[in-house]
Symmetry: C2
Amino acid sequence: MQYTRREDTVEEILDQLRREGGRVTASRRAVIDVLLASPSHHMTAADVVDAVRADHPDFHESTVYRTLERLTELGVVDRIQIGPGPAVFHLSTAQHHHLVCERCGAVTEASADLLDAVATRLRRDHAFVLDPGATSLHGWCVACRSR
Amino acid sequence: MQYTRREDTVEEILDQLRREGGRVTASRRAVIDVLLASPSHHMTAADVVDAVRADHPDFHESTVYRTLERLTELGVVDRIQIGPGPAVFHLSTAQHHHLVCERCGAVTEASADLLDAVATRLRRDHAFVLDPGATSLHGWCVACRSR
DNA sequence: ACCCTACTGCGAGGAGTTCGCAACTGGGAA
DNA sequence: TTCCCAGTTGCGAACTCCTCGCAGTAGGGT
């Protein structure tokens, strides 16, 4: 049952948090649940604030920011800067790449193995370990290419 | 002679600007010159402001922003968001990729052909045209990997 | 030399995010 | 169970990076 699975995943993440010396609070539970439930694979901090407030109107904006920061440190969520605007977040279990159009800002997704060969080359030639979840690719989408 | 070559390049870029209906002004000349002269291959807008003001203390911040915006539209410079902080700019003639460390923020460069295969695949599978100059790769540098 | 329009300085404003502080609370120790 | 302290929170101010509106200025085609 999907509902139960989501609850379990929330608890798993909270356990991880606890193991690292963190504390389990209602707001953290809410943020993780929102990210898990999101049909979209990328939410801005403002999206998360709105979604969390639907259930808990009193949770403060800065708490959500701090929770997202903490979860990013933990490696549970990825934070991606897809342009000049706000950063987007998604669970790192939902690995994929973002193709960002420079003109219209549209974001589409590409499969997670897209950069495998590049990652190998970077590790070999630059001793640099790629974080695919934090990397977005910029260019022009079909629509904007034929302006 | 390198000095003359740089002057020539400035004029080339200004011609291009003029051809597109733009006007050649002292501040634009200064911004382009600064970008050409920069030993670093990536400057933030603030870096450009500082460098321009060394010669022309009266040039306004917003003029520099607008000039950089215009040059980005022209395709003369690339604007890259390498993290939560300010965007960086560099001339699109100096093509290369940026490897950004998630922990310390250090930026190193990788050769321009790094993403050639990926670009081909994106064009074929997603009808997406990659702009290598605007794309940065995120991960962990050698130093931070062995925290 | 004229005129239209692009560009500029200036300051206000805005989005997105961070920070300091005092109050509160989870959860290990006693 | 109670105690206690470090981790967390609400709140608001502040900060960074950038954009915008306006009125004045100055390229550069005719």
